[in-house]
Structure formats: C-alpha cells, structure tokens
C-alpha cells in the first residue's frame, strides 16, 4: 500500500518519538498574530529561552485591527497595547513583522499564501484554529494554543500525536451559483462538527482538481469547523502556478528542485486511508446555516429541519439553536429579514471572492437594500490594493457597501466591527456560534460571498441564482 501526503509529511518532519509516545514534529512555517502570541513571549522570557529559528516565524496583525482607519494609536487602548507588544516581540527576537505601514498586513491565512510562504510538503502552525487553510497547498497545517506557540518559538517543534486520514471526494460538476463555501458547508453538514475528530481531511475528486487555490483555501479553512484539525488538497499544476514568482517561492534552479519534492509528497495512487467518503457535486445547493454550529445548515430553498429528524442525543442542541435564532422548524429561511451583510474573513476575503460578487453586481446593477449595513472587508492590504486597481471599490460603494481596510473585522468581535443586539447577519465568515460576531445575542447566517450579496440586495435571505439570474 502507498502513503498519503499526510503520512509522508509527518514522517519527514518527525524528529523523534517522545517518552510518552507522542512525536516531536518539526515546523516548517510558524505564523503568529497579536492575540495568541504575547503570553508565549512572556513565557520565553520567564524561562530565559531563545528563538533559534526566527527566520521561520512571521507575524501579522489581524484580529484587533480596526477596519475604518488603521491610524495609530488605536482608539481601543487594549488593542493598541497588544500591537505594541507584538512589534516589540518581533523586534527583540528578529521576527519579520508584516507591517500595515508597509502595506504587508492582512489576515494571517491570507498573507501567508500571498507571500509564497505556504508551500507543499511542509508543516505549518499558528495559534489560530483556521491555520487549516494552508492545507490547500498540500501542507500539514493546524492551529495550536499559546503554550505550544512558546514551544515552537523555543524549539521549532511540537509534541504531536499522529492523526488518521479521511479522504473526502466530491466528484462531478458543481451547478452554476454553487461555490467552494457551499461545498464545505455541505461536507460539514454531512459529517457533523465532531466528525473530523482524530482525523486529517484529504479533499480530492474532480471538484477539488478543478478548484482554484483560493477555492481550495475556502474549503481547507473550514476543516476545523468539521472537527478536523487539518485538511489538505494534494499539490498539482494549479498549486505551482499560484506559487510561481511569489516573494518566498523558490527561484531558478531551486524551483525545479522544489517541484520535484512537491510532486514526491503527493498521496500515492494506492495510498491507504482510514476512511473514505464520496459525494456528488450535483447534490450540492447554495447553503445557509440556520443554527449555532456550522453543521446546522440547509440548502437555501429547503424548509428548516424538524428536531425529530435528528438523533435523540442531538435534539437538545437543535432546540437550543432554534430558540437562540428565533426560527421555526418547517419554515423556509428564504425571505428572513437581515440587518447586516459581511463579506470578508480568512474563509472568503480573497480577491476572487470579491471578483465574483463584483461580476454579479455589475451585470445586475442592483444595490444594497436601504436599512441593511453591508461591509466589504479585504483579507489583506494587497488584496485591497488589487481591488482598487480593478475598480472594485467603486462598484461596491456605488452598490451601497462600505469598503473597508484589511482585517478580521466582523468575523470575531475583537475589533470595532460588531453586531448590535439581536441583529441577524448574512456572513461569508466561518463560525455562527452564539455571540461570535460581537453581540452576545447577535445571530449569524453563514453562506458564500455571492449569497451574502444577494441577501444584502434583497434585505433578506435569498437564492443568489434568482437575484442575479444565474442560469442553471
């Protein structure tokens, strides 16, 4: 039997087996941000430890940065203190800080790939659960806690258990108006939010083969929402074309050498998997979450499920979700009035996400319904710059969206972009947990960027295929 990419990368990076059976795993790339790193640096200082491989750690600021104005000092003193701390730590330990002043800043999972830092056949970690995003390049990438950030800074390694591998195949052709976001929401709905526990997810099949890198990133990003700490796609010509000529991509003879290595790390045709599931692309519809976990989703035109259609043990959570959201089983979500629309985040804040929305806004000439607060937040300063060059800022503002600075924004309630009271938000982000978007009673509906735009225009949940006349 052959090996999967996961097995190969794990073997190549395993330093040794530790006393209690775990493996010491070498990290090729370590990314840090202002929220989960300050305490790690404090621990280093307390213990008198150094950072032996500072050139393998890169820092950015994303969670706390305001998106209306990035001017310093920030109005929020706590946020300012966190950023000062990050800048100080990077300077002291010789870590490259991707500074807003230099136009390099952005969400950690957008800037890593953008710079060519994320590469196939490597290990990537960050004190952030959405590090699974980087698996799109055929890397083993996962989120860690702050104590582990300390370990990586001090040793460039982590103590890890080996995961099982589940191959998730989606074959066939997606219907028009169905996007990568719908695919991953569908997979999570099928396998559940704890279905990936103990597994790495390998995404394969004709749908993933045809996806762009940005689409692959959307899917891998949400692996963690299905309980899988990491998810990946095997590297191919699409991966290499994306990586060519980026700042940290290999150049010249090194490029040829790199491609050879990357090819060798792909899962073998006869690789052994612990589990395989297969789905048909044509079964996937535009998806919307209706509850308080990313698995509580439905096709946009379907009726909301009855609690009785779930296993008995799951029913209390289903009932809790209906109560929190204020929705009724059997009713349709389409037409449900929204207050806020948010396009951005590490799931859907890349150039092609906005490009697809702009295409439909231009073709339809439609505008955001008065009363809906609609935000467009680029995932990085570079994405923002490209959007301006392409004239997207004008298209969005003329259609009634606010065009903001780069950051995590309304995904997670650590900066001024927040829901108020029980507001309902159509969001291209990744988590619909209670209170996730900043109001303890705020409500989130996860969907694709085009679906968010359709909701913003309609003033309520709508099938983007109808709003934008997308022909199936």
């Amino acid at each position: 039997m052959g090996k999967s990419l996961y097995d190969k990368v794990f073997e190549k990076h395993a330093v040794r087996q530790l006393q209690e059976g775990q493996y010491q795993l070498l990290m090729g790339l370590h990314l840090i941000h202002e929220v989960t790193s300050p305490q790690a640096f404090s621990m280093l200082r307390e213990r008198g430890l150094t950072v032996p491989y500072p050139e393998r750690t890169f820092a950015t600021c994303d969670h706390i940065i305001p998106t209306k104005s990035q001017l310093r000092p920030f109005q929020d003193e706590l946020a300012e203190q966190m950023l000062v701390e990050l800048e100080k730590n990077c300077a002291q330990y010789g870590i490259r800080y991707l500074s807003p002043k230099k136009g390099e800043q952005g969400i950690v999972h957008v800037v890593g790939p953008e710079l060519g830092l994320t590469q196939p056949g490597t290990t990537v970690c960050c004190g952030d659960s959405h590090t699974s995003t980087h698996g799109a390049f055929g890397a083993i990438a996962f989120g860690i806690g702050t104590t582990q950030v300390r370990d990586v800074l001090a040793t460039q390694t982590l103590a890890m258990d080996k995961l099982k591998v589940r191959r998730i195949e989606v074959n066939g052709k997606l219907r028009p108006g169905v996007y990568a976001k719908d695919v991953v929401l569908y997979v999570i709905q099928q396998l559940g939010v704890q279905g990936g526990m103990g597994y790495a997810y390998e995404f394969g099949g004709t749908v993933f083969d045809a996806f762009t890198m940005e689409e692959r990133m959307t899917v891998c990003n949400m692996s963690i929402e299905g309980g899988a700490r990491c998810g990946y796609v095997n590297p191919d010509a699409t991966t290499y074309a994306y990586l060519k000529d980026r700042e940290y991509s290999p150049k010249g003879a090194a490029w040829e050498q790199a491609v050879k290595y990357w090819d060798s790390m792909r899962s073998d045709a006869d690789a052994a998997y612990d589990h395989i599931v297969q789905y048909r692309a044509q079964d996937i519809e535009p998806m919307v979450t209706w509850g308080i976990t990313p698995a509580q989703s439905t096709a946009v035109n379907a009726k909301l499920p009855q609690a009785s259609s779930f296993a008995e043990g799951d029913r209390p959570l289903i009932e809790e979700a209906y109560q929190y959201m204020g929705f009724t089983p059997g009713a349709a979500l389409a037409g449900q009035k929204i207050d806020v629309a948010f396009i951005g985040s590490c799931t859907n804040g890349r150039f092609s996400d906005f490009e697809e929305v702009v295409k439909h806004l231009k073709a339809s000439g439609k505008k955001v319904k008065p009363g809906v607060r609609a935000l467009v937040v680029p995932g990085s300063q570079k994405v923002r710059e490209r959007m301006i060059e392409a004239g997207f800022d004008k298209v969005f503002t003329e259609a009634g969206f606010e065009f903001r600075e780069a950051g995590c924004s309304m995904c997670l309630a650590m900066n001024p972009d927040k829901l108020v009271g029980r507001e309902l938000c159509a969001s291209s982000s990744n988590r619909n947990f209670k209170g996730r978007q900043g109001s303890p009673t705020g409500r989130t509906l996860l969907m694709s960027p085009v679906m968010v735009a359709a909701a913003a225009i309609s003033g309520g949940v709508a099938d983007a295929r109808e709003v934008f006349a997308i022909k199936s």
Partner: protein, 204 residues
Amino acid sequence: MQDVKRTVITGKAISLDGNDIDTDRIIPARFLRCVTFDDLGAHAFEDDRKQLAEKGKRHAFDDPSRQEARVLVVDRNFGCGSSREHAPQALMRWNKGIAAIIGESYAEIFFGNCVALGVPCLTATHDAIQELKKELASDPALEISVDLERKEARAGKVRAALSMPEGARKQLLTGRWDSSTELLEGKAAIASTAKALPYFGHWH
C-alpha cells in the same frame, strides 16, 4: 515546589449540559484583548451566564453551592471552535480553578491546550456521564475523585470508567506535561531533521 504529577484529583464538582460548547462561549472574544491570562477567570461563560440570568434562570457557574468546584463534567465535543488557550486558562483561573474535566469527547486543540497546562480531560460513556451528573446534582458538597492511575471517577455511590489517550495520561501521571523541557532536549535531532528536509534553509 508545586507538585506537577497528576494522579488523583479530588474536589467538588460542577456540571454543564449540552454538546458542542465552543470556546467562544467558554471565554467570549472581547476578553482576549489582553497580554496576560491573569484576569480571565471571572469571565468564564460570561455571556451564557448573563443571558440565562436575564431569563430568570441560573448558569451552573453562578450557582453559589458550586463555587468551590475543581472538577468539571461536560457532554460531547467540549471546547470546539477557536484554538484560544484563553478557554482552559479561564477555567483554570475560575475561583478555585478547574483541575480536571470529564466529558464524552473534546475538540482536539482544546484537549492539547489542557494537557499543556496540566489539566487532564478524561472521557467516559454517555451513560456514565449522565449517571455521574445525577449523583453530583443530588449533593453540591459531594466530592468526586478523578483517578488517572486507575482510570476511574468516584463520586458517592457511583464509579465510572474513564479513558484518555495513553501518551497524555502518562505525561500527566509522571508530571512531564510541560513539553518544553523534553522538546529542548531534542536540539541535535531537530537540527539533523531540518538538514535532511530539502526546503529547510535552502529555498525556504
């Protein structure tokens, strides 16, 4: 010096009902705007607590008879979502500090964070958890013993079999859960593994 070995943890208990309790609920994101973990304890489950209070109900963490609890009993997929170590840190710093957790299952990053902090997360079957919860509900003063050596929880007349991945259990039993020391010992092996990787220090 503080004893780092985790063999038997005994104390009063607190139970939470519900699957998929995420780390945003354990510690809402606004409290992550900090550069130390010191003040997180008071804010554990803050939004859940407030919302229940507004409805005239009471969250377990607001129950006066449970304020001394050291063992937390939960359901399935506890600690899912964000990787924030602030979640176990908040639990560790809540009142006397949660020192052990028993549940049906845990999200992996949360589990790893707990082990790294010396907080054992043990699992038991659904039925065993329900039985434990019932027994603990009957008397707030009842103490529970979480025995890592015998893989067993004892509370009143209830005995529940516990499990935990062997590596993590041994780390806690021997007091070697603070990973840094052992990882640092691998210095030479780290350098040679790095050297053998084609990209490390070459094109990347």
